[in-house]
Amino acid sequence: MSSANVLGEKFKLGMLLSDTRYRATSLQVITFIIFVAVFFWLVDNTLKNLALMGKDVSFSFLGMRAGYDINQRLISYTNDSTHARAALVGILNTLLVAFVGCLIATVVGIFVGILRLSKNWIVARLMSIYIEGFRNVPVLLWIVMIFALLTELTPAPKAFKGDNPEASMLFFDSVAVTNRGTYLPMPVMGDGAYWIIIGLCLSVIAIIYFSKYSKALKEKTGKGLPIFWISVCALIIPFFLMYFLLGKPITFNYPYLKGFNFKDGIHLRNSFLALTFALAIYTSAFIGEIVRSGILAISKGQTEAASALGIRPNKIMSLIILPQALRVIVPPMISQYLNLTKNSSLAIAVGYMDVRGTLGGITLNQTGRELESMLLLMGFYLSVSLLISSVINYFNRSFQMVVR
């Protein structure tokens, strides 16, 4: 106000909007009023609606008996368990699909991305077709289609029956692909199996320290040790030594046909397989593009400078290009992982019981607690996404280009 007086102007109401000195504040006040008004309007409506339906907001339903079965689960669960436990089963199922999917997507995506830059014309074209084909068709269609293929094209368990069966198991009778899912051998941990796992962990730690030592040695003397072969030996030899010394404690429980179905082994349902593969393949197309553009983002001068220094082509890739490209590649790749995790909520299309299927599906329908279930569901996805974006931010901060 005082500055207005200095200039000899009188304060007019219109100046609240037209004068830059007041505009920011008045706009904020207006926004705040609108925001609060809308917020209270929504809350008021919700309360009225809840009162009309005779409902209240309470999360006590989580402690009640769920009463429905979940056919694919990682932790023990029966229909006597609580809704909270069902939600947990769902969460673990979501995370399982997300984890396996991300793993496959990364491997395939990197492979495709690098091959798309291949000097081989035909390979590069094939990879373009792969990428364009998969990312231009909705992921839901892929999920439904792969599910249909898995159930329609594979033989029924009864086809494996008899002396001269129509279908046979793969990989020396250890894997059965049927229209009810795929059966894999299940490792059974006998006495002493845990020693082997501990031994493996120790080997890995030893390898990490060894490679650090070797690097230091190389920087000091110029001569390194053959890291790769020594690491492989360090991993394999103790494992087999312990395995045989402890009397082969790890055995496999092979699936076998009993009656009209397979027994034992790990049963991967078609819903799980279809969802995971579809998400992985779809996401791999995006990751392929990210990898390709990351490598292309490194200017050609880097390659030329490296080869002028006499570095060999494969070393140029691993020592010069990739470390710089990773800075470009990793953040969008992590956000693709986030996309995959969110897309896993399409599980409902094939009947896989993820968190949307349990908490946001059957629990919601049985208890009629739409508001609470959706809030919890969104809370879960939001926390996953916030976690992942904080990982991205951490990465960006710690790998920022050092500018002098």
């Binding site: 219109g14 909007l17 037209s18 920011a24 706009l27 904020q28 926004t31 705040f32 925001f35 929504l42 409506n45 919700t46 009225k48 609606n49 809840l50 009309l52 291949s118 000097k119 081989n120 014309w121 035909i122 390979v123 094939l126 364009e132 084909g133 990312r135 231009n136 068709v137 909705p138 992921v139 839901l140 269609l141 439904v144 289609m145 249909a148 293929l149 329609e152 969110k342 897309n343 909520s345 399409l346 409902i348 299309a349 949307r356 946001g360 919601l364 739409e370 508001l371 959706m374 569901l377 969104m378 996805y381 939001l382 996953v384 996404s385 916030l386």
Partner: protein, 427 residues
């Protein structure tokens, strides 16, 4: 010294490069067989392609188009495709349950859509932009039907407001903001009190009516296109506003709201938002409100992609040198002038690939409406597969649907590449 046997007096004409280095052979040597590893890859790929073609071509070429059911196809020849499912059900895949005698309406809307997009896509035709402005209302009326005037009144009202503003503000009222407020107020009064009666009157005088079609009848690619195109058109301006809000420095409250909105939307899957639209929205609205499910879905899809759009545009804004803001401010441009003339054209240009990717994502995401039991092509595929006549069919149906989506999405990405090239000003 005179017995030098031969002295060349003239230059030898340059001989052509060896045959292995030029033409098709040279190309093949360079691109296909440059090393033994490359040769192996080439041969392997060729083998793979041959196997694939040998598998697919006879299957697709000999396909049946005119059988009554899958059973009949299998009886004729089980090794070829049974495209009869498309012959029998293509109407459903395109129009859903839209009444058959009204098929011309979505068809016409689709072709008009193409016409209305042209002035936006190609600046050469910019003088036809008026059609693009009229189009949304026209499409609304054609698709849903009802009285022509109930849609036209929106245009009448808005043009009334615009004319009012230009009449009032320079002559009668000095202050532009006051004139604007007055014009908006009068337009609102017009819509609240006059519009309803005017529609009735006009309908009586000049009845131009189409039979009303309710939203639940919509389906197939018509539905995908309605949701997709509306979402794309609406999410773009909202995304720009959100991005500007998030960038703003002197409006911390606006920034906070924008950040909260963007991060919330980006953090949850679209499918949960669609469930909110179908199950939960009734909680948040005044008791007794019940508005159109397709509209609800469009709103959710729009909000969803607006959040992504905002992040893409924010990336473009961040990529702009700060000097651009300062230069435009020192030229005396206001905030909106500098955004419109200096900042946005450059920021949008940088973010074209991201924007188009968001559009493509939105269009693909329209398939998710099948999960809240609207009849989009993917949902219809399940319905058709559940029919006893076509039970067990998969490739033919999914290939057809996938191909339709592929054409639209691939077209969009090609257009974005064209646009990028056209707008490229650096060397």
């Amino acid at each position: 010294m005179s017995d030098i046997a031969f002295v060349r007096k003239n230059e030898i004409p340059a001989s052509p490069p060896p045959i292995t280095e030029m033409g098709i052979i040279g190309w093949m040597k360079q691109n296909l067989f440059s090393s033994w590893w490359n040769s192996f890859l080439t041969l392997f790929s060729l083998y793979f392609i041959t196997m694939l073609v040998a598998e697919i071509l006879p299957w697709a070429w000999g396909g049946h188009w005119n059988t009554k059911s899958l059973r009949e196809c299998l009886d004729l020849n089980p090794n070829v495709a049974c495209f009869s499912v498309l012959t029998a059900r293509w109407k459903q895949l395109l129009f859903g349950l839209y009444p058959a005698e009204e098929y011309w309406r979505p068809t016409l809307t689709f072709f008009l859509l193409i016409l209305s997009i042209i002035p936006i896509l190609f600046p050469r035709f910019i003088r036809f932009i008026w059609f693009s402005i009229i189009y949304p209302g026209l499409a609304l009326w054609l698709l849903w039907g009802g009285s022509f005037w109930s849609v036209a009144i929106v245009y009448i009202g808005i043009s009334f407001g615009v004319v009012l503003y230009f009449l009032l503000s320079p002559r009668l009222i000095k202050s532009a903001s006051l004139g604007l407020s007055l014009a908006i107020l009068l337009t609102i009064i017009f819509f609240l009190f006059i519009a309803g009666g005017m529609v009735d009157l006009l309908t009586e005088l000049l009845p131009i009516n189409l039979p009303f079609v309710e939203s639940l009848k919509f389906g197939g690619f018509t539905l995908s296109l309605i949701v997709g195109v509306t979402g794309i058109v609406a999410s773009f301006p909202i995304g720009i506003l959100l991005a500007l809000g998030r960038q703003s420095k002197n409006l911390p409250l606006v920034k906070m709201i924008c950040v909260g909105f963007i991060e919330f939307i980006r953090g949850v899957p679209l499918i949960t938002l669609l469930f909110v639209a179908s199950v939960l929205l009734n909680y948040f609205l005044p008791p007794g409100t019940n508005f159109d499910i397709v509209l609800r879905v469009i709103i959710m899809v729009t909000l969803f992609s607006a959040a992504y759009m905002a992040e893409v545009i924010r990336g473009g804004l961040a990529g702009l040198a700060i000097g651009q803001h300062e230069a435009s401010a020192s030229l005396g441009l206001t905030y909106w002038q500098s955004q419109r003339l200096i900042i946005m054209p450059q920021a949008l240009k940088i973010s074209i690939p991201g924007i188009v990717n968001t559009f493509i994502g939105l269009f693909k995401d329209t398939t998710l409406v099948s999960i809240i039991s609207l009849r989009d092509p993917v949902g219809l595929a399940s319905t058709i597969r559940a029919d006893a006549k076509w039970n067990g069919i998969y490739w033919e149906l999914y290939i057809a649907i996938g191909l339709m989506f592929f054409i639209f999405c691939f077209g969009m990405s090609k257009y974005s590449q064209y646009l990028e090239k056209k707008l490229k000003t650096d060397n």
